[in-house]
């Protein structure tokens, strides 16, 4: 009988021990990158965060997928080009030169502040998976910061949610982590490669269980 479907074999090196430092091949296979603007990085270089133990290794550094930035980038382009269009169509001809100059300066200052704030919000709202804990770092506005963490061995359930055509095409989705900690749920929103993240979390939980059985708990 002819084959109806032949799946492509997964030729990536099988990493089940995320608590050891992987070799180059394993790093490349699981998505290591030196790009500091990456939304997904396995074993990122030179990353540190407040509350980390000295022996704790960061396994995954995640952000919202880059495509989630398109709305504010579109608004930014409109903001940057609006004065140019206004000048081209003569909307500001009736205003005195000094007022339109000052107005232009303020317009671009405020536009820059908007762009910078949006970038900071994307760049610093991260999700971190270490070999011991998962972290959700949120900067909600200019002055409010929230860091939620849960031990890997307290994770009870991991759900991957990929819910739209765009998310399926660009391979990003939400990961909902149910924990036995005080915060019952941690959500990683719109992260790239959600299946891979869930797999890493599952394997870290297995490693934690193994450590407990062997008495190597830290």
């Amino acid at each position: 009988m002819p084959d109806v479907f032949k799946s492509t074999p997964d030729r990536r090196p099988k990493v089940t021990q995320h608590k050891h430092i992987p070799n180059k091949e394993e790093l490349a296979a699981y998505g290591h990158t030196r790009n500091r603007l990456a939304a997904y990085c396995y074993y990122p270089d030179h990353v540190n965060f407040v509350g980390a133990d000295s022996e704790e290794k960061i396994v995954l550094l995640l952000r919202r997928h880059a495509i989630t930035n398109i709305p504010w980038i579109f608004v930014s382009i409109l903001l940057l080009f609006t004065p140019i269009v206004a000048f081209m169509f003569g909307f500001l001809e009736s205003a005195p030169v000094n007022f339109s100059t000052v107005g232009l300066i303020f317009w671009y200052l405020i536009s820059f502040a908007y762009i910078f704030e949006q970038f900071l919000s994307w760049f610093f709202n991260v999700y971190i998976v270490t070999d011991e804990r998962v972290f959700d770092v949120d900067f909600l506005n200019l002055v409010y910061r929230e860091i939620t963490d849960a031990n890997i061995d307290q994770i009870q359930d991991v759900t991957v949610r990929v819910g739209s055509v765009i998310r399926t095409v660009f391979d990003y989705g939400d990961i909902i982590i149910q924990t036995a900690a005080q915060i019952p749920q941690i959500e990683f929103e719109a992260v790239p490669h959600p299946d891979r993240v869930a797999q890493v979390l599952r394997e870290l939980r297995v490693e934690e269980e193994t450590e407990k059985l062997e008495g190597r708990v830290r």
Binding site: R36, P44, D45, H46, V47, N48, F49, V50, L61, N98, F99, T101, V102, I105, F106, L109, I110, F112, A113, F116, E117, L120, F123, F124, V126, V137, F139, L142, V143, R145, I147
Partner: protein
């Protein structure tokens, strides 16, 4: 004559309003500098110096905007 006085008064009011707006914006720019410092203390990824420099430049430009309001208007 009265019209001249009125237009100069309106210009003065607009200049004061512009100066006040620039003053508030400087405070906002300063808060952004503090926010960036806080963020880079919380998470170190390697772009800290660039982001701090951008925030400080933004603050300096906002001070420049205040000077522009006082000089140009």
């Amino acid at each position: 004559m009265e019209l001249l006085n009125l237009s100069s008064q309106v210009a003065l009011i607009l200049k004061l309003a512009g100066g006040l707006a620039a003053g508030f914006y400087i405070i906002f720019a300063f808060v952004i500098v503090r926010q960036v410092n806080k963020m880079t203390e919380t998470l170190e990824v390697g772009l800290e110096s660039v982001l701090r420099a951008v925030a400080i430049l933004h603050l300096l430009f906002s001070i420049g905007a205040l000077i522009a309001v006082l000089v140009i208007l």
